[in-house]
């Protein structure tokens, strides 16, 4: 096959490309230039935006002996990922930009262009399994598993994707990179948002959205217990950084329960009030088989690296509804609910949706 390897400059995508070459594919490496101003972006194994990353990717391609190009997707990235990220926060939700980038950039803009240019598939260094059965599964390395951020992909997108790393642990990938003489073998992982250079999401949002002072209200008493300078800076489940002036009657810590952009209010309350057992999702995607017509017993994950809980899931109309078997805390609108079927060969992603409400 003619395949396009998206090379971020990190160790994972370099080894993924190497494996694609070894599998006999005709591989072309592409580095995605996503930053309008490369200096402001973070470097790192998953960051994909700095000049250093671009050079690292190019050097990996040299070692593999494959052609290499840089594709400029800065405008698309800004529109579809950065602006959406800001807008989502402004609307009181908590977006996952990596997921969005997969959905709109890597497996949409890039994949479409690749296919139009005559490529059959896109190869990435994501840690997830995608076998001949077409099912997306968790990586063998559960600590590095990225099936959650890939669960937004549709059938058509998955059919043109290759994830060569799913059967390996991160340690094995690093070892292989070293063995292959790839200089990125011990490049550190990055876990932060690539377009927020200093990791200060709050500061980034304040910059984009401006100050918007408002009240922090206690859910039980209705009393104003504090002030904030922008509701967008808060996430459901957050406890730190609230600086509440009025102590809780029971002296227990309080958490962000909800954000109401309309009134610019942040509502806080005790940990128990965070617990939800029903989650509603919108824009569902179902790739793990035919869309179920009846309720289905399965497992769900409600944020990246979050806990997995048993649930009963139903698809109805344009939405998805999950009854959780045990209550979960800190479920934020805007994150994805990903539905898994436990499987000894790697839990299978059945589908996903964007969380719209939880109770």
């Amino acid at each position: 096959m003619r395949v396009l390897a998206a090379m971020s400059g990190g160790v994972d995508s370099a080894v993924a490309a190497a494996r694609a070459v070894e599998a006999g594919h005709d591989v072309t490496g592409v580095h995605l230039a996503l930053a309008r101003n490369p200096q402001t972006y973070r470097t790192g194994a998953r960051g994909c935006c700095t000049l250093e990353d671009s050079r690292d990717a190019r050097r990996a391609a040299d070692v593999l002996g494959i052609p290499f190009y840089v594709w400029d997707l800065a405008d698309r990235f800004h529109e579809d990922v950065v602006e959406t990220f800001v807008a989502e926060y402004a609307a009181g939700r908590t977006p996952n930009p990596c997921l969005r980038c997969n959905e709109k950039i890597k497996f949409a803009a890039v994949l479409d262009r690749a296919v139009a240019l005559g490529f059959d598939a896109v190869v990435t260094g994501h840690h997830a399994r995608l076998g001949p059965d077409g099912l997306l599964r968790r990586s063998v390395d559960l600590g590095k598993d990225q099936s959650y951020v890939l669960a937004v992909l549709t059938r058509e997108q998955l059919d043109r994707s290759i994830f060569p790393l799913g059967d390996s642990t991160k340690a094995q990938v690093r070892e292989e990179a070293a063995r292959r003489g790839l200089a990125v073998a011990d490049k550190p992982d990055s876990h932060d948002i690539c377009f927020i250079a200093d990791g200060d999401t709050r500061g980034f949002l304040a910059d984009k959205l401006g100050e918007a002072p408002g009240e922090i209200v206690d859910a039980r008493t209705g009393a104003v217990v504090g002030a904030h300078s922008g509701a967008y800076a808060y996430t459901v489940g957050q406890r730190k950084g609230l600086s509440l002036g009025v102590p809780a009657p029971d002296g227990k810590p309080r958490y962000v329960l909800s954000i109401t952009p309309k009134t610019n209010t942040v509502t806080v309350g005790p940990a128990e009030a965070l617990e939800v057992s029903t989650v509603a999702g919108e824009r569902p995607v179902w790739t793990g088989g035919p869309r179920p017509t009846a309720a289905l017993d399965c497992e769900v994950q409600l944020r990246a690296h979050g806990q997995v809980v048993p649930a009963n899931v139903r698809l109805d109309g344009a939405g998805l509804r999950a009854e959780l078997r045990e209550p979960v805390r800190g479920v934020a609108a805007g994150q994805a609910i990903v539905v898994y079927r436990p499987d000894p060969g790697g839990d299978v992603v059945l589908g996903s949706a964007t969380i719209s409400a939880a109770a």
Binding site: D26, P67, L117
Partner: protein
């Protein structure tokens, strides 16, 4: 292994066959990569002449700093001075007017900044630099740096649709700012679209106002007749690697009475205008290449222009909607520059590269991301036309086979790139 990178990659010997040429042993592939592909990017850099390579190797085997006072130093010095004379002789300059530099970019920086600084120092009212809008970045960014960091004012001279400057327009500009202008700079020939400027006429205008005129002749030397003295310019940039010499060596021809403040400070080796130990081997090879290129210029231009005309005619036939950019007559012999409506230059380049055909989209930034060409924009093209353009540049090793290979590959490539372009615009 089809599609594996093979140029300069040891062991990946299957490449040339996969790229549609007879297979060769890997070792040959390594050394002679460009011979096995269709190299249509001579304006970016052109293969070194065999005699320049030999002169380089022979001189590099010797020892001696041209500034040293002993026999070895004198020998190196002699090689440098002989080279200076050879270059001066074929370019219509005096030997003392040849200032060796590390290439075109350095010569441009030295001319623009150095002459500006010297002029302003002599007359503090002279703070304006007049430059053409289609300069290479080495000039463009030097002027912009002076404007943003050093108190200069820039006047950008517009070009017409063919990329040509108008001497009357320069006269008007100089009229308007008579006592304020420190320097005029305009390239002899454009590196992207190949338009050759009326340099003598422009220089005459500047001379009438007593203003020094610099020209970047990097693309012109060896391609069109270039005579420093006859052209009337005060300073002229030339570089080795565009005419069969090595990369990293060039010269600024600088009139004897033209003031120029150094950019690099140090030993003052070159007329106190440029410092740094002289690269005797590079300079010798550079001189060999300049001499060969200038002496062969007429014959070369006739042969290459004929090939180019054939290329243009056949590309237009194969892709009727292609737009031919630049000046049809006053043009570098090896330059063919097109826009392919609906395609992205990037995509075309990649698809041609996959077939072993090397060409260029124009300027690229450090990360390798193509920007729409300022040259095309200055010629009145819109963003789409600028982004859809591709430069094919022929040179001394080009053959009819190269043209044939391009023409054979192009229609399918354009078709594919157009479909990819359509996908992109419907999605966004």
């Amino acid at each position: 292994m089809a599609g594996r990178e093979w140029i300069g990659t040891s062991g990946a010997g299957a490449g040339p066959a996969a790229r549609g040429r007879a297979s060769e042993a890997p070792a040959r592939t390594l050394a002679l990569g460009w011979m096995l592909m269709t190299y249509l990017d001579h304006a970016a850099t052109t293969p070194m002449l065999e005699e320049a390579l030999e002169a380089y190797a022979a001189t590099a085997r010797e020892v001696g700093n041209p500034s040293s006072l002993h026999a070895a130093g004198r020998c190196a010095r002699r090689r440098v001075e002989e080279s200076r004379e050879r270059i001066a002789a074929v370019l219509g300059a005096r030997p003392s007017e040849v200032v060796f530099t590390g290439g075109g970019t350095e010569s441009d920086n030295l001319a623009v900044k150095g002459i500006f600084w010297a002029r302003r120092a002599a007359d503090p009212g002279r703070i304006r630099v007049v430059a053409s809008a289609v300069e290479h970045h080495a000039v463009l960014d030097s002027v912009e740096w002076l404007a943003t960091r050093d108190g200069a004012t820039a006047s950008w001279l517009p070009v017409d649709q063919a990329g040509r400057l108008d001497p009357d327009r320069l006269a008007a500009e100089l009229d308007a700012h008579a006592g304020e202008v420190a320097l005029v700079t305009a390239m002899w020939a454009n590196n992207e679209v190949g338009t050759v400027q009326p340099i003598a006429a422009l220089a005459e205008v500047a001379a009438a106002y007593g203003i020094p005129f610099h020209t970047d002749a990097v693309q012109a030397v060896g391609q069109v007749p270039v005579d420093f003295a006859a052209s009337g310019v005060a300073a002229l940039t030339v570089t080795g690697h565009k005419l069969g010499g090595p990369v990293g060596v060039g010269a600024l021809l600088l009139g004897r009475d033209v003031g120029c403040t150094p950019v690099l400070h140090g030993g003052g080796q070159e007329r106190d205008v440029r410092s740094g130990t002289l690269d005797a081997a590079g300079i010798v090879a550079f001189a060999v290449a300049v001499e060969a290129a200038v002496k062969a210029q007429q014959e070369y231009a006739a042969r290459v222009a004929a090939l180019r005309d054939d290329l243009v005619a056949r590309v237009r036939q194969a892709v009727p909607e292609a737009v031919y950019n630049g000046d049809p007559a006053d043009r570098l012999p090896g330059n063919a520059h097109f826009s392919f409506p609906g395609c992205e230059g990037d995509a075309l380049l990649m698809l041609l590269d996959a077939q072993g055909i090397a060409c260029s989209t124009g300027s690229a930034c450090s990360a390798g991301v193509a920007q729409p060409s300022h040259v095309l924009l200055a010629m009145g093209a819109d963003d789409d036309r600028a982004r859809s353009s591709l430069r094919f540049s022929l040179g001394h090793t080009s053959t009819a086979e190269d043209v044939a290979a391009l023409v054979a590959a192009l229609p399918a490539v354009v078709e594919r790139a157009r479909r990819a372009g359509a996908v992109k615009s419907t999605r966004s």
